[in-house]
C-alpha cells in the first residue's frame, strides 16, 4: 500500500484524480450528463482542445513556449472551412505548408538562438493576418467527411472519449515508448548531452515544431468539424488553454518533462471546468477567475506532493 502512494505515483495519478473529482461533481449537479448523449455534448468541444494541448506539449518538451498556437489553429480552421472544402488538393497543400512553416520556425529559433516566446508572439499576428485574408468574414463550411467524423455516434462509447483515448495513446507510444521519442525528449531535458552524443539539435527542433504544427492542423480541422464554419478569431483562447492543459496534465516548463496522456486529461479537465462552473450558476464575471482557481488548486496539490517527495 505504501509503495502505491509514493510521491512519484501520486504525481502521475493527480491529473486523472482531478478529472474524476470534477466529473463526479458534474454528474452530481446535473445527472443528465451521465448518459451517452450527455457525455457526448459535454466532451465534444474538448477534442480540439486536447489536440491543441498535445501540439503545445511538443513545444514545451523542447523547452520552448508557443504563444501563437491559438492564432495558428484559427488559420488552419479557416483553411479547412474554405480551401479544403472547395478544392481539397489546394487545401491539403496549404495545410502542409502550415506544418512546414512551423518546422521552419523551429529551425529559426534554434539557429539564431531566439527566445521562442518572442518569435511565436510575433508569428501570432502573422497567422491572424493570413486567416483574415483567407476568410475575411465569418463563414465557410466544413468538408463533409470531417463533419461526419466529428458527429460520429459509435455504439456504447461516445466519440469524444474514443478520440481522446486514441490521441493520448498514439502520442504516448510515439513519444514515451519509442527510441526516437527518447532522443526527442532528451533534447529538451539536456540538449548539450544529446548533441554531444551525435544527434542534430536542428533536426530535433524541426521535428518537434513540425509535430506541433501537425497537431495544430488536426485541432483546427476537428474544431471546424464541430462548428461547421470558421472565423479568423475562432480559436484564440486555445493558446492559454493549451499551455494550462499541458501543465495541468503533469508537464513542466523545463524541457523533457511532459506526459501525453496527462496533457489530454488536462485539456478535458479544463473544458469540463467551464461546464462545471456554468452548472453551478456562477456569475460569468467570476468564471474566468474560478477557472484560474481550479488550475492553481491542482498545481498547489502537485507542489505539495513534490515537497513531500524531497523530504522523504
Amino acid at each position: 500500500m505504501s509503495r502505491l502512494l509514493t510521491p512519484a505515483m501520486m504525481r502521475t495519478l493527480l491529473p486523472g484524480l482531478s478529472l474524476a473529482a470534477l466529473l463526479a461533481a458534474i454528474f452530481y449537479l446535473q445527472p443528465r450528463t451521465m448518459s451517452y448523449f450527455g457525455l457526448n455534448l459535454l466532451l465534444n468541444l474538448a477534442v480540439p482542445i486536447a489536440l491543441a494541448t498535445i501540439a503545445q506539449m511538443f513545444i514545451l518538451c523542447v523547452n520552448d513556449l508557443d504563444l501563437s498556437l491559438g492564432a495558428f489553429i484559427s488559420l488552419t480552421a479557416c483553411i479547412t472551412a474554405t480551401w479544403l472544402n472547395d478544392a481539397p488538393l489546394i487545401g491539403i497543400l496549404a495545410l502542409a505548408a502550415c506544418v512546414a512553416a512551423y518546422a521552419a520556425l523551429g529551425a529559426l529559433i534554434h539557429l539564431r538562438n531566439l527566445p521562442s516566446i518572442v518569435v511565436t508572439l510575433g508569428m501570432s499576428f502573422v497567422w491572424t493576418g493570413i486567416a483574415v485574408l483567407v476568410l475575411p468574414t465569418p463563414g465557410g463550411s466544413a468538408p463533409g467527411w470531417i463533419r461526419t467524423l466529428m458527429t460520429l455516434k459509435p455504439a456504447l462509447v461516445p466519440f469524444p472519449i474514443i478520440a481522446a483515448v486514441v490521441i493520448a495513446l498514439t502520442v504516448h507510444f510515439g513519444l514515451m515508448r519509442s527510441a526516437a521519442g527518447v532522443v526527442l525528449r532528451g533534447a529538451g531535458g539536456n540538449p548539450k548531452s544529446v548533441e554531444r552524443a551525435g544527434w542534430s539539435m536542428l533536426r530535433v527542433k524541426c521535428t518537434m515544431f513540425a509535430l506541433a504544427g501537425f497537431f495544430g492542423v488536426l485541432s483546427g480541422m476537428a474544431l471546424v468539424g464541430l462548428t461547421t464554419s470558421a472565423d479568423a478569431n475562432i480559436a484564440l483562447r486555445y493558446t492559454l488553454l493549451s499551455i494550462a492543459g499541458g501543465i495541468l496534465g503533469g508537464g513542466e516548463f523545463v524541457g523533457g518533462r511532459v506526459s501525453p496522456i496527462g496533457a489530454v486529461i488536462g485539456a478535458i479537465t479544463l473544458a469540463l471546468a467551464g461546464s462545471f462552473l456554468s452548472f453551478l450558476r456562477l456569475n460569468p464575471d467570476f468564471q474566468i477567475g474560478a477557472q484560474g482557481v481550479i488550475l492553481i488548486l491542482v498545481l498547489a496539490l502537485r507542489l505539495l506532493i513534490n515537497s513531500r517527495g524531497t523530504r522523504a
Binding site: L45, V132, G225, R237, S278
Partner: protein, 339 residues
C-alpha cells in the same frame, strides 16, 4: 417607451385574440427558457439584459413559463458560446434564445440543440442554421435611411464622414453597406473619410480627432450608434463647425442633441435597434413552445427618433442607457402573426 398608442394596442390585442384564439398559458407553464448571450460590455447589451430580466421576471411570476435565466459567456468567443449552448441543452432547457458571437460558428451547437428537441431562437446576432428561428434587424436599411434623411437636408449634397463599428463583425458590414448604397444612389454626397469607432464614444472621439485635420468641410457624419457624442466632442475640440451628426439612440447622444436643439435649433435624426428585441425573442420562444405556427424568419423595425419625438424619447431613456422598446406578449403576437 410608448411608441404604440393605447388604442392601437387594444385593437391589436382584440384582433390577435380573434385570429389565433389562443389564450392558453398553461401549456408553457412548466417550460424553461434560457438566454445565451456572447457579450455584455456596452450600454446596449446591458439594456438588453435589463429588459430581458424585467419582462421575463414578470412572465415567470405570472406563471407563463417556469424559468427564464440569462447566461453571458465570460469571453466573447465562438468556442465559449458553443460550449455554453451545449451546457444549456444538458441543463434541460426547453428553448434557448441566442444573441450569437458569429452567424455561422455556432451552427454545430445549434444543430445539437435542435436534434435534442430544444427550440432555438436567435436575435440581433443571428445564426444561419436552418432549424433555428431568426429575428433579424434590417441593418442595411438602417444605414441607407441615414443617407436618405441627409439627402432631404442637403439637396445639393456635401461631404460625409463615416464612423464604422467593430471591424470584422457582420453588423458593421451591413450598416456600412447600406450607407454606401445610399451614397451611390445620391451621387451628390462624397464619403471623405471612414474611421472605426467600435460603437463606443471614447474610441469614436479618438478616431474622429485623428482624421479631422486631413478632412475638408464636413456637412454630415453618418454613424452606427454609440459614436455620435464622441464625434461631436471631437469636432468641438478641433474648433470646427458642428456638422449634422446622425445619432444612435444612446442617452448621452440624445442629451447632447437636446442641448443643441435648445441652444441653436440643431436638427438631426437618431436611429438604432431597441435592445428590448431580446424580449421579443423570449415571446417567440414561448409561442413556439405553446405550439403556435411561427415563421422561421421574422424581422423587426429599427427604432428611429426624430426632432419631434426627441423629448419624449429622452424622458423614457435611463441615464447611461439606450432608447428602448420592450415587447409584451401581445406586441410580440402582432409582430409574429401580423406579417
Amino acid at each position: 417607451m410608448k411608441l404604440t398608442t393605447l388604442g392601437k394596442l387594444c385593437c391589436t390585442v382584440a384582433t390577435v385574440a380573434l385570429v389565433t384564439g389562443s389564450g392558453a398559458f398553461a401549456d408553457t407553464s412548466g417550460k424553461k427558457i434560457a438566454l445565451s448571450n456572447n457579450y455584455a460590455g456596452n450600454s446596449w447589451r446591458q439594456a438588453m439584459l435589463t429588459s430581458w430580466e424585467k419582462v421575463t421576471g414578470e412572465a415567470v411570476t405570472a406563471g407563463v413559463v417556469a424559468s427564464a435565466d440569462a447566461f453571458t459567456t465570460a469571453e466573447n468567443q465562438v468556442t465559449e458560446q458553443a460550449a455554453q449552448i451545449q451546457n444549456l441543452i444538458l441543463q434541460g432547457y426547453d428553448a434557448i434564445v441566442i444573441n450569437a458571437a458569429s452567424p455561422e460558428g455556432l451552427n454545430g451547437a445549434v444543430k445539437e440543440a435542435c436534434d435534442a428537441g430544444v427550440v432555438v431562437v436567435s436575435f440581433d446576432g443571428i445564426v444561419t442554421e436552418p432549424c433555428a428561428y431568426r429575428i433579424a434587424v434590417d441593418f442595411h436599411a438602417m444605414g441607407k435611411v441615414q443617407v436618405e434623411y441627409l439627402a432631404g437636408r442637403f439637396p445639393d449634397g456635401g461631404n460625409l464622414l463615416e464612423i464604422r463599428g467593430l471591424a470584422g463583425v457582420f453588423v458593421d458590414d451591413e450598416i456600412s453597406g447600406g450607407i454606401h448604397e445610399g451614397v451611390s444612389a445620391n451621387d451628390k454626397f462624397n464619403i471623405q473619410g471612414s474611421v472605426h469607432g467600435d460603437w463606443a464614444q471614447d474610441v469614436s472621439q479618438k478616431a474622429v480627432a485623428g482624421i479631422l485635420p486631413s478632412l475638408p468641410d464636413i456637412a454630415a457624419v453618418v454613424t452606427q450608434g454609440g459614436d455620435g457624442y464622441g464625434a461631436a466632442q471631437a469636432f468641438k475640440a478641433a474648433g470646427r463647425d458642428t456638422p449634422i451628426i446622425v445619432m444612435g439612440n444612446r442617452h448621452d447622444e440624445l442629451t447632447w442633441w437636446k442641448e443643441q436643439k435648445d441652444a441653436n435649433g440643431y436638427e438631426t435624426m437618431s436611429v438604432s435597434i431597441a435592445p428590448g428585441v431580446s424580449t421579443l425573442a423570449f415571446w417567440v420562444a414561448q409561442q413556439v413552445l405553446d405550439g403556435a405556427e411561427v415563421p422561421q424568419d421574422l424581422s423587426v423595425p429599427f427604432l428611429s427618433i426624430t426632432q419631434d419625438t426627441l423629448e419624449e424619447s429622452l424622458k423614457t431613456t435611463q441615464a447611461g442607457g439606450v432608447a428602448n422598446v420592450e415587447y409584451s406578449l401581445d406586441d410580440s403576437k402582432a409582430v409574429i402573426f401580423g406579417n
